[in-house]
């Protein structure tokens, strides 16, 4: 009986201690916060500029649908790739890059076609 009571008292004390520790997690120095956050401290012209409202959250980076550069979208996807970049990113510069990719694809395609056609024609005439 005595052992059971001691065990109960120990468990109760431990639970109380755990509870007290968790409550202490929410403690902070209110006087320090009040002093630091006073309007006097923030009226100085030495205030630094704020680059963003969420400095820990905002991540700068290039705009790439699915991580693929806009130029490649235009080069591989053609007009469809340009449309994808335009509607997803809604950024003029990125759309321009995709458009250049499309143009590059057209130029390369034309050159390849001419070369292939010329080769085929040459082969045909030499075979006559």
């Amino acid at each position: 009986m005595k052992k059971a009571f001691l065990l109960f008292a120990f468990v109760l004390g431990f639970a109380t201690l755990s509870s007290a520790n968790d409550a202490e997690l929410f403690s902070y120095n209110e006087n320090e916060v009040a002093a630091v956050m006073s309007d006097v401290n923030f009226s100085s012209s030495d205030l630094g500029s704020v680059n963003s409202l969420e400095p820990n959250v905002l991540v700068s980076g290039s705009l790439e649908p699915l991580g693929i550069p806009a130029f490649i979208w235009g080069c591989v996807g053609g007009i469809a790739g340009v449309a994808i970049v335009h509607f997803i990113e809604e950024d003029k510069d990125e759309t321009k890059m995709a458009l250049w990719g499309c143009v590059a694809q057209s130029v390369v395609g034309t050159i390849v076609y001419i070369v292939a056609f010329a080769s085929a024609a040459n082969a045909a005439t030499s075979g006559i």
């Binding site: 755990s18 509870s19 320090e32 409202l53 705009l63 950024d91």
Partner: protein, 232 residues
Amino acid sequence: MKRKVFNDVLRSQLIFLFFLNFNCNLVYAQFANAIKGDITIKSTGTTGVKELVKGKFYYTLSSELLVYSLTFPNHQVFVGSDTTIRIYKNGKLVNTQKTPNLGVSSVYHLALAQELKNFGLLKSGFTIEKVQKDGKKVITTWKPPSGLEKKLGQIIMLTEDKRLSGLVFKDLNGKIIKKQFFKKYVFLDGVTFPLEVLEITFSADNKPIYRQTEYKNVKVNDIVPGDLYRYP
């Protein structure tokens, strides 16, 4: 016979009143779709340089559109929509950045959606690991959803009078990485909103970094047409 008819009529009226009240409550809760007000953010900064931001905020729940129209330190407009934030100066887009969805995780969204009392953790898949009660104070320990136990630490929540009062975020090793406190609650058109939020993070040498956000002139569903909604 008359008594039976009377009971039937009374029962049907009670059922009607119940559903009417239920639907009215739904409408009342769902009617809170937008919130706006003045915002001031003071921060001691990570390098000891004080930072101050002033302006107005606007948030609409249905479109998850978050707008900050700043007047200090300079005139800028931040428009957060989905995973993109656009920055405007003098009405012109100057920068676009990819971010997590700022609107959905904001105190504005949680307040309008009536999820602030559990910080949206229930909807995010967190589960309750332990609950301790001390009078009107309740301390709840939340563990991350399955699959994220190796990425996220515990979140300990303090609620007082059924209102979110404090949050403690821990890393995987149990070290405290951030504390948040929600104070000076007001009740506006069915929305409970804290007018002061204090955030405490810690520098590399374990010194506290304070960031205090104060809200004033907060209004619910007082949508201002025109200017801010020209931004896509």
